[in-house]
């Protein structure tokens, strides 16, 4: 691969370690959201989108009647992860808002389901993505929305306009 393929835009090379902030300078608003570390975030959301979707399909197809609430939540989690993955990868203010909604819903979901799964184990048998704050997935479902919201806050469209007029 070496030398065989140039970075698409000439900005993706090594040494621009500060990532989004550096990439955002001189680019249209909100363009830095899906670059640099944002691509890692999208990749991790993508993995969870696939995992949650597959699990939801499996649970609903084979044993939905055993725990309808829990398995519906897996399906909801799958939708949230797919929406977060797609919206994080897209540019534009509308997709930014969609990202905030999806990632915010994920945080609310993991906190609510995590708490309820501890308080009422019968309602939520520990086999949803969000049970016990995502314990089955190394607590990544708990950490991911926090990082995601922080990333979105740092790359909010208004901040980038400010950043261009007042480089810091």
């Amino acid at each position: 691969m070496r030398g065989g393929r140039l970075p698409r835009d000439g900005r993706g090379s090594a040494g621009r370690g500060t990532g989004g902030e550096a990439a955002a300078v001189g680019t249209p608003a909100a363009a830095g959201r899906n670059r640099g570390a944002g691509r890692l975030l999208i990749a991790v959301y993508g993995i969870f989108a696939v995992a949650a979707t597959a699990r939801a399909v499996f649970q609903i197809a084979t044993k939905f009647s055993e725990a309808p609430a829990a398995y519906s939540l897996t399906a909801l989690a799958a939708v949230v992860y797919v929406l977060a993955t797609v919206s994080l990868a897209k540019t534009g203010t509308l997709w930014f808002r969609t990202s905030v909604a999806a990632v915010g819903l994920e945080l609310v979901g993991v906190l609510t389901v995590g708490s309820l799964s501890l308080l009422d184990p019968v309602l939520f048998p520990s086999d949803t993505v969000w049970s016990v704050f995502g314990q089955g997935y190394g607590f990544v479902p708990l950490v991911l929305p926090v990082i995601g919201l922080w990333w979105l806050y740092r790359h909010r469209p208004a901040a980038q306009v400010l950043g261009q007029s007042n480089p810091a």
Binding site: M1, R2, R5, P7, R8, G12, S13, A14, G15, R16, G17, G19, R35, G36, A37, G38, R39, L40, I42, A43, V44, G46, I47, V50, A54, R55, F58, Q59, T62, D127
Partner: protein, 124 residues
């Protein structure tokens, strides 16, 4: 889960790939031959695992758990290194190496799950 040669080999290949990719990211390298080949090694391991699973299956040593869950995992796992490669080379930054490194971790977790299913663990 029985810790057999596949688990040990998978652990070594996946861990090595992740360490190489994360190390390259730490020294601020974009994806290069070494990191991409380490992910290719993960894919080769999965192909070997696929072939041996087909051989074991057809030799009468069938999956103890849900068969279609096992094969679903395996087909998905085969796509992960390819997807990571595609996503990483679209933008060649140091972060792309962490994306490549995430493939190794993901595959090892999926391998553990596949081994559990093979040995007859209940479906999740």
């Amino acid at each position: 889960m029985i810790v057999d040669g596949f688990v040990i080999a998978g652990l070594i290949v996946c861990l090595l790939s992740t360490v190489i990719c994360l190390g390259a990211a730490i020294v601020r390298q974009p994806p290069n031959d070494i990191t991409i080949l380490s992910v290719a090694a993960v894919e080769v391991f999965l192909v070997v695992y696929l072939v041996s699973a087909v051989v074991r299956q057809s030799a009468g040593q069938a999956v103890s758990g849900e068969g279609w869950e096992f094969w679903g995992y395996l087909v998905t796992a085969l796509l992960v290194p390819v997807g990571a490669f595609w996503w990483a080379v679209l933008e060649r930054s140091r972060w792309s190496n962490i994306v490549l490194g995430a493939a190794g971790v993901t595959i090892f977790v999926m391998l553990v799950r596949m081994e559990q299913i093979w040995d007859g663990a209940a479906a999740i």
